[in-house]
């Protein structure tokens, strides 16, 4: 772990004693900083733990951590209930790792818990390979006397080969791990992990362990795999699904990927998951394109070719069939007589209805495009900012050779670009937020914050585009640092306000009736 990772890890570390899952081992870390001598210990803890409204507490776990936490849970339950580890594991998986519920039910009626979970805790019947005289395997019909056989604690006995085939099929082909049952019909006894290790090849066994880890995280409401490609960390965050209308739980993996714990999509603060889903779908929807076409084009009344109006004149001539008509009322031009470029048929009922329809769809489309263009613009600009940074970095390398600038001195640029890109992502999602937001006097602050952040971002972006001169590097550095801090603080102000509003139920979103009953 690098120093900065450790830092981040600490600052998000939960101290909640009630926390159900405490997967972290380094319990003895203490939040005291040496320079903070004027503060006493409790003050420091309070300061470090006072989280911002838009932040949530979370932990990042490696695969080893995930394995270890399963082992810890299993040992714990095995001790409490006085059963073997492999049985405790089967029970925990059956209860989707809800340890409290398992223990409560077990204390209440252990017989029925064991039966439904498919566990028989009979120490005299630990599964092992053996040769049984006169045995015939019901599956392959083999009856060799030196046939190796295996029976689970239910007593259903089959040959070793059939067991290996069966388990390999379940694990490799069906991806099953949690509930692989006895091969006998109507027997729900689970093949425990110890028996599986006994019966399959090392390759299949390691696949089995991987599947178990996967289901452990998938089954657990408070764990989620980092969605970054080939990243193997899992994030733990105690925000339940039911809170996702009031909070946008944003987490950051050790791999630096920032994502929403609620839905797994990349960081989409300040928009809530539900709104993001709706917006993404709207943008993908082809009907928006269709709307655009209907608002900007008309069909020739005669041959139905699509005609786009690109000038101011209402006298349209279809390029294809030469039909002449009026753009305003769509009627044939010949009926316009001498009124020429001033259509006086505008008030006729039929023309009016057609136009009302068109106007409505155009207004809603223009509103959508207003937000969409800004949304898309920040996405595009973030890419350009990254490109700009790459170019700048090259330039800095060149400069290092001709002047006495060191690598460390140009790092402020990287930091600035990172913040800039992050702010653009936030801004991007403020436009989806604003699209659905019902305007009232409460929303003015949001709009002001959005504008301030927008301005700060553009200023920083402009600053980074400035040509770099070696002799002015100190000046530039100071200016960039100041702007970077400022931009970051504008983002914080905006996110604080939107997050606070969400938790207070201050925002009203149109098209989300389910949020306001």
């Amino acid at each position: 772990m690098s120093e900065s990772e450790e830092d981040m890890y600490d600052s998000y570390k939960s101290t909640d004693e009630e926390q159900e899952l405490d997967l972290d081992e380094d319990e003895d870390e203490i939040f005291v900083e040496e320079d903070d001598t004027e503060l006493n210990f409790t003050d420091v803890v309070a300061e470090r733990n006072r989280k911002k409204n838009y932040e949530v507490e979370f932990n990042v776990h490696s695969v080893e951590g995930i394995v270890k936490s399963q082992d810890d849970e299993i040992i714990h339950v095995s001790n409490i209930l006085g059963i073997q580890k492999q049985h405790a594991a089967t029970l925990l998986r059956h209860f989707r790792w809800n340890k409290e519920r398992l223990i409560e039910r077990y204390m209440d009626d252990s017989g029925s818990v064991l039966k439904t979970a498919g566990v028989i805790t009979d120490d005299s019947r630990v599964p092992k390979f053996m040769k049984v005289y006169g045995f015939v395997c019901d599956i392959c019909c083999d009856d060799d006397n030196d046939l190796n056989t295996l029976a689970l604690s239910c007593g259903h006995r089959f040959c070793r080969n059939c067991y290996e085939h069966y388990l390999t099929q379940k694990i490799k082909e069906e991806g099953e791990s949690r509930r692989i049952m006895c091969m006998a019909s109507n027997c729900n006894v689970i093949v425990d992990e110890k028996t599986i290790e006994l019966a399959v090849s090392p390759e299949i066994h390691s696949r089995y362990r991987t599947l178990l880890n996967r289901t452990y995280v998938d089954d657990n409401e408070y764990l989620r795999w980092c969605p970054a490609p080939s990243c193997e960390y899992a994030v733990e965050c105690h925000v339940p699904n039911t809170s996702l209308t009031r909070i946008v739980p944003t987490v950051e993996c050790f791999c630096c990927h920032r994502f929403c714990f609620g839905c797994g999509l990349p960081d989409h603060q300040p928009s809530i998951c539900m709104l993001v889903r709706k917006w993404v779908k709207k943008c993908e929807d082809d009907s928006e394109t269709a709307n655009w076409i209907s608002a900007h084009t008309k069909e020739c009344g005669k041959c139905h070719s699509t005609i786009e109006k690109n000038g101011g004149c209402n006298h349209m001539t279809c390029r294809k069939c030469k039909y002449e008509f009026c753009w305003v009322c769509m009627g044939p031009w010949s009926e316009h007589g001498t009124s020429w470029y001033n259509c006086n048929r505008y008030d006729e009922k039929s023309s009016q209805d057609a136009r009302d329809q068109q106007a409505k769809s155009r207004a809603s489309l223009e509103r959508y495009l207003h937000y969409y263009n800004r949304f898309a613009n920040h996405e595009q600009s973030a890419k350009l900012d990254r490109e700009l940074y790459n170019k700048t970095e090259k330039k800095m390398e060149e400069m290092q050779q001709t002047s006495d600038l060191s690598w460390i001195e140009v790092q402020f640029l990287k930091k600035a670009v990172d913040i800039l890109v992050q702010c653009r992502m936030t801004l991007k999602w403020t436009y989806a937020f604003a699209f659905y937001l019902v305007r009232n006097n409460q929303t003015e602050i949001f709009e002001d914050n959005q504008r301030d952040l927008e301005m700060a971002v553009e200023q920083l972006s402009e600053l980074l585009e400035k040509p770099i001169e070696a002799e002015k590097i100190t000046e530039l550095k100071q200016e960039v640092l100041n702007k970077t801090v400022y931009v970051g603080s504008r983002r914080e102000v905006l996110l604080e306000d939107t997050a606070k509003g969400l938790s207070e139920g201050r925002w009203e979103f149109q098209g989300f009736e389910e949020l306001h009953e």
């Binding site: 599956i139 080969n161 059939c162 099929q169 379940k170 006998a184």
Partner: protein
């Protein structure tokens, strides 16, 4: 998966069915170990008495670790758990399959499912199901609410 187990099992099942066929069940076609066709007669004294149906079994090389694909073909029985495309809602064909089960035991289960039927009716969601189902019933996410019919 070894071919040996797959072919050995099916060869054994085939000879058992030929030597000792269950009442009302008859092999129509079993030329390969890929698919078999069996005739199934409605049992006397039940709603299906006098009717003859055909079941098609398709085996993968993972049989019997994996269940066979079983559908009615041709004359499809009208039954609350049988869709008009031949798909059968019966748990032993899907999640309750066990490698101990066989072509014979499947035929007997289906026969008893027909015999216990008290009302000749298609499944309530038949028209929706046949529009949306994939060709193999094994690709359907079955939920078994009622095993008594």
């Amino acid at each position: 998966m070894s071919m040996a187990l797959f072919t050995k099992r099916l060869a054994k099942e085939l000879s058992d069915l030929k030597i000792n066929p269950p009442v009302g069940i008859e092999i129509e076609e079993a030329e390969t170990f890929k698919s078999w066709k069996l005739n199934l007669d409605g049992v006397d004294g039940t709603l299906y008495a006098g009717e003859r149906f055909a079941l098609e079994f398709r085996f993968s090389p993972n049989y019997p670790m994996e269940s066979p694909e079983v559908v009615f073909v041709g004359n499809i029985p009208i039954h609350p758990h049988i869709y008009s495309n031949g798909h059968i809602c019966l748990n032993v064909l899907y999640n309750q399959w066990s490698p101990v089960l066989s072509v014979r035991s499947i035929c007997l289960s289906i026969q008893s499912m027909l015999s216990s039927c008290t009302c000749k009716e298609p499944p309530p969601d038949n028209s929706h199901y046949i529009r949306t189902a994939r060709s193999s019933p094994k690709l359907t996410q079955w939920s078994f609410h009622d095993d008594s019919v």
